[in-house]
């Protein structure tokens, strides 16, 4: 077994960079703090690539299964002999893959931010938060046990909160950061309950023990039943609630569009490529338990994923803020990943969906980060998020234009770009498991192509908007990450995921199924063509279509009134019937008792304060009379 102890440095370097920048960053020149953050992440990225190479190729015997191993572990909290919480580093195919994804995207975002955030007064603060986020996310994927994962899960939530609210003088950003934090925190309650139920029934937090097909979790915990489902199923559903919150699955998705108030590189890193896929990672991490112990929970995952992807795709067609379109697109693509996990079985070719989900996670991280960074370059150039303020930018921003086009083609699933391969695998897996889910995903594939090209034409073609000052291409420090990510988007599809990341660690064979691949490409092309007709030149067609589907358009444009539903539930029900009585109880009973005690004390004090008159002779008189009375008592009475 090769030695992987050095992987400890991968999360620790960003952590120390965070401390360094957070504590001393205000004394540095902005460029210096940016370079420190970037180089810290660069070293972490190099270590991650080394680990990936060593794990997948150099240190691996060809044909053997990939095993999971603990590179490092200490007991962190020793509560009792039975209840000990460990901290450590787990190396297995999905964690190594996530290492590569996180460090790559994070490094690109760091480089890009040096250009994007230039001149911002909080430059060092931004980079220290980015490092904190990278540390938390790396800690999350490397966790050896579910409790450690939970700790880092919350840290990721905090850093997301900090970065969404980065422009803290902007009320909408502050509101968005609070919304994101509260919604995900609320979902994390489910995660915590799930953890407690799962570990109570299995007696362990450890992932290796939990996911062992012959271990206690899968063989025993399925026994006890509650309301027609086993306790294991319930606990996994609760854990999935946490995952759904972080991954913006319906109905916890409402925070994701608002999270776009953060700086665009943050959206690329956290709300597209890494943090929002934490839920997918969580399900993938516990996948053997889901697949072998609780298939019902897996069905929930599949249907939530499928519904979210359709729901988000419909909304994405009507939004005008380019970052929000991308946000809903992210939600839709994560729905794909969830669905792929949900329809997958365990082991061999049965595990196609598992492989496809991780494959799509990988490629999606590349092209969605690229899309966001491209959108950032556009926003940088025209100082607006609204698609209506853009148009005809292809002449002004040539590099952004080409890379954005590549990303759009990738997400639309055009071969031989990477999105085609991963999406195709998901469709195949869905087709073999459930025709209904397959149909949903098939429609979503078309919608995806349509709304992405609506966005593309809206930004780069369409009407020639008159700009106050001519938009200019972003500096090299911003365009180079775009080119690197474009390269990744094009070629990531050729990685042999079937050999590397599978549900049971063993490689399996499957060829492209042309009966599914060809129609899926076709519907993508159809989506692109419709978008071309409607949006390449300024036409009246979009308004006509919107007019015909008036109600649907209005509903989708208002995001199906989900925000309003949440507001109704919180304001009208929770606030009125729970919070108001509680506040009354607090003010009148709890505070009342305390105020009463204080009032009595004060009354007593006022009535006796005359004793402290400050008049010396009064004191002396009392003293002397007291003495005389005592003397008389002792002389005559005792």
């Amino acid at each position: 077994m090769a030695d992987y102890t050095y992987t400890l440095l991968i999360p620790l370097i960003p952590f120390f960079v965070f401390l360094l920048l957070g504590l001393t960053g205000h004394k540095m020149k902005p460029v210096v703090s940016g370079l420190i953050g970037t180089s810290g992440l660069g070293i972490a990225a190099i270590l991650a690539y080394t680990t990936a190479f060593k794990y997948f190729w150099a240190g691996h015997v060809a044909g053997a299964a990939y095993t999971s191993l603990k590179a490092f572990e200490i007991s962190w909290l020793h509560l009792t002999d039975k209840l000990t919480i460990h901290m450590g580093i787990l190396i297995d195919p999905i964690s190594v893959m996530m290492l590569v994804v996180i460090t790559t995207v994070s490094l690109m975002v760091h480089i890009y931010s040096i250009g994007y955030m230039k001149g911002d007064p909080g430059f060092y603060r931004f980079f220290s938060f980015l490092s904190l986020f990278s540390f938390s996310m790396l800690g999350l994927v490397l966790a050896t046990n579910i409790f450690q994962m939970y700790i880092f899960w919350e840290l990721v939530g905090v850093s997301s909160f900090l970065l969404i609210g980065y422009y803290y003088d902007k009320p909408s950003a502050v509101a968005a950061s609070k919304k994101a934090f509260i919604v995900t925190r609320f979902a994390d309650l489910g995660f915590l309950i799930g953890i407690l139920m799962l570990s109570f029934n299995t007696g362990t937090f450890d992932f290796q023990t939990l996911t062992d097909p012959h271990g206690p979790a899968i063989t025993q915990a399925a026994g006890a039943a509650f309301m027609g489902m086993s306790v294991l199923t319930w606990s996994l559903i609760f854990i999935f609630v946490g995952g759904a919150g972080k991954s913006a699955m319906f109905p916890f998705h409402i925070w994701l569009p608002d999270a776009m108030e953060g700086p665009t590189p943050v959206s690329a890193l956290i709300h597209a490529a890494t943090m929002v896929v934490a839920g997918v990672y969580l399900v993938a991490r516990l996948f053997p338990v889901f697949a072998l112990g609780a298939p019902d929970a897996l069905h929930v995952v599949a249907w939530i994923g499928g519904f979210s992807s359709l729901f988000a795709a419909v909304i994405a067609c009507t939004q005008t803020d380019i970052k929000r379109v991308l946000a809903f697109s992210t939600m839709s693509q994560i729905g794909y990943m969830m669905l792929a996990l949900g329809v997958s079985g365990f082991g061999g070719e049965e595990g196609l969906g598992f492989m496809a989900s991780n494959f799509h996670l990988f490629t999606h991280a590349m092209f969605k980060a690229l899309l966001f960074l491209g959108a950032g370059a556009v926003i940088h150039a025209v100082h607006s998020n609204e698609i209506t303020d853009m148009g005809g930018l292809r002449k002004h921003l040539p590099i952004t234009h080409i890379t954005f086009l590549i990303a759009c083609l990738t997400i639309a699933g055009i071969p031989p770009l990477s999105g085609f391969f991963s999406k195709d695998e998901i469709l195949v897996a869905a087709f073999h498991a459930n025709k209904m889910l397959f149909a949903i995903e098939y429609i979503v594939a078309g919608l995806t192509a349509f709304y992405m090209f609506r966005l593309y034409y809206g930004i780069f073609w369409g009407k020639n908007t008159h700009y106050h000052h001519t938009p200019h291409e972003a500096p090299k420090v911003m365009t180079i990450p775009l080119m690197i990510l474009a390269f990744g988007s094009v070629f990531a599809g050729f990685l042999p995921f079937k050999d590397l990341v599978t549900s049971d660690g063993k490689a399996f064979e499957s060829a492209i199924d042309y009966w599914i691949a060809v129609p899926s490409v076709l519907i993508g092309v159809v989506g692109i063509l419709i978008a071309t007709i409607m949006y390449k030149k300024e036409t009246a067609i979009p308004d006509k279509v919107a007019g015909t589907l008036k109600h649907l358009y209005k509903w989708a444009h208002r995001k199906f009134y989900m925000d309003e539903v949440y507001l109704f539930v919180t304001r009208k029900i929770i606030f009125r019937y729970i919070s108001v009585p509680l506040a009354w109880f607090d003010r009148h009973i709890v505070d009342g008792t305390m105020n009463g005690i204080a009032g009595i004390t004060q009354y007593a004090a006022y009535s006796i304060k005359g004793l402290q008159s400050g008049k010396l002779q009064q004191y002396a008189f009392v003293f002397i009379s007291g003495t005389i009375i005592l003397v008389l008592i002792f002389v005559y009475l005792v």
Partner: protein, 105 residues
């Protein structure tokens, strides 16, 4: 000669002095007068010391020495008290005890 005067005479004198001192201390508003009253109290005690020593233990001198110590302490006390009174006067422009009640409540 001294044998003709009973001890109780001395005690009556000292009691009178003591209560005159107490009365002065409680009723006078002037700090200097109050200080003088305190001196009266102390001196009444001194008379008691000397008288008891002379009448009960004529061979010993503890009472006399104790009286001397009290006089010394009284002198020191007067010095400190007058210093305090001067400072009070500087702060309050008055040595009326009624005005010196900043520390009440």
């Amino acid at each position: 000669m001294i044998q003709n005067i009973p001890l109780s005479y001395y005690l009556v004198i000292s009691t009178l002095m003591f209560f005159i001192g107490i009365y002065g201390f409680l009723t006078r508003r002037n700090l200097i007068t109050m200080l003088m009253s305190v001196e009266l109290i102390l001196n009444s005690v001194n008379i008691n010391f000397v008288a008891f020593n002379r009448y009960l233990y004529p061979q010993q001198l503890e009472g006399h020495f104790f009286m001397l110590i009290v006089i010394a302490v009284a002198a020191a006390e007067a010095a400190v008290a007058i210093a305090i009174i001067i400072n009070i006067y500087r702060n309050f422009k008055s040595i009326d005890v009624e005005n010196v009640d900043e520390m009440k409540y």
